[in-house]
Amino acid sequence: MTAVGAVTPDGLTIRASRHGPKDSPSIQTSARSGRSIGKTWLAYNDPEWLAKRHGADGGISRILGAMTAALQAAANEATVTPARLVANDSLLARRRGSNRSRLDARRGRSRRSARNGGPALASMSVGRAPREKGEAVSKNAPPMDIDLSSLGFWARPYEERERAFHWLRDHDPVSWHRPPEPLAPGLENAKGFWAIVRYEDIKQVSRSAKVFSSAQGVFLDDFPQLETILSFIVMDDPRHQALRNITQAAFSPRNIRRMEQQIDAMARRIVDEVAPLGSGDLCELVFKQLPGRVFAEVFVGLKDVHRREVLIEGAEQLGAWADPSYAHIGPPLAVFQDAAQRIMKIAFEEADRSRREPDDNLMSWVVRAQHEGQAMTEAELGAFFTLLVGAANDTSRHAMAHAVLNLQHHPDQKALLLEDFAGRIDAAVEESLRWSPPLMHFRRTALEDFELDGVTIRAGDKVVLWYCSANRDEREFPEPDRFDIQRSPNRHLSFGHGPHYCMGAALGRQMVKSTLRQFASHMPDLVVGEPAMLLSNFMNGVLSLKGTWTPRAE
């Protein structure tokens, strides 16, 4: 084991060493008092890539240097603007409300950009690249460095990011951004992207599915051969609709209404298990459990608890490719693929079982369903199942966590809800979804030139639709920064819009509703702490949310 250390002028101790998972470098930071602020692993298991990105010593010396300023800023947040964190090419980010130091393990990007003649990160602002192209964006300077390609941006608190999106909506609604960093060694994101941030623009692009394709990828990050992992969301019509049709009826609002009591009962059983505890991480105890059990038991007929947990954890990992907590698996691409492989293994086994012992559930239906005149191949079925697992599990759990947080942060609105729970819960769930969309973007690729807000988007350009921004667009929502559970209409874009509108929207809404109902009835004095947030440009995720409540007798 090797170790190096440094003390910042603020008295923070940074100690880097090689140990931990896979003998990988770690960074331990401590406050003046000696209290640990956090530990972050850089556990990439590809030494060659690690050396290329961070230097021959595994990056310890260079990381230390770059971390120092960031740690100072993190320790003295009141006097240092978040913009400096990014301008310093900070490797460290703080989760909202968490004292865990976060390491942005992906710092190679800005150096590459500079090498290639691109602007250095510190001098970047929006509109930096081709916008029919080279035209001035605005004389108004943004309030901060808006670098949507940097994980540093996504480490900032949500409301701070919203200020950046607010500026973009007002001054640069179709802005060009540099490529995000690669997902794995040698896998370069060759192209930048347009950021679409206004509500009506996003609806227009979403509806123009013949111009804006999903088939070349749906994330800001470029995953290769994504269709083989995520099935029909990475397809255009008619293939998209044909595959979607196989399960659409099962997730339709009509069918979910029929399932309301069943989902309520499952939520009740989970809360009955948890209520006697008095405290715990609600993500683990409740938010992951309800969608996991609904999907596994109701839709798949999966009764094995261990396999259900594999699906739940796989779903979480699938949406967490950039989060440092999964870096021990490998680079982001490996994190994503590893999750998909584990989910697919269960998909294949369950498909076999469903063929042998057909039942009245979704899996049995899917293996019998005809697509383009034939049953799905094993590969198609695996991708289809992986998509459903990811979509059904992970987004719903984050929506539940946000709903609890949002109501706690707005006690007047919580009181209003409790005055007439049955009458106001639907609108309250919608407002929470608007306020905190579980997914922040999806991407399209232009198939032909398209004019939007005076900007020419060229065929082949990547276009990213920022739902989190649309939901705060004052052109659509009066007083968008007010959390109002009686807001009407509330046509947020948290489930997207157009042909790719989230198929599981009704199920997700129902699970949030059922959970809040059980909390209100059986854990009425629940208080949650600050959440630990996922580091992601895609998923607005809550990794952990600890709560306390008066234990109820079993």
């Binding site: 209409p489 046509r491 489930f495 819009h497 929207a505 009704a506 809404r509």
Partner: protein, 59 residues
């Protein structure tokens, strides 16, 4: 309210689903050929669950 062209398609402002009178919504009890105005007010969008009043004439 004056009746619009019964063949007109209507779009859900919430999710973008398009109601095509030629197809109707058989799963929702709406027979093919039913003009949008003749759909009961209790009907809701088969994709997102929005109410009938959330629809506008397309185009």
């Amino acid at each position: 309210m004056s009746r619009s062209d019964p063949a007109k398609q209507w779009i859900c402002q919430s999710c973008g689903y398009v109601y095509d009178p030629k197809r109707g919504d058989p799963d929702g009890g709406i027979a093919p050929g039913t003009p949008f105005e003749d759909i009961p007010d209790t009907w809701f969008c088969p994709v997102c669950g929005a109410s009938k009043r959330d629809f506008v004439v397309e185009g």
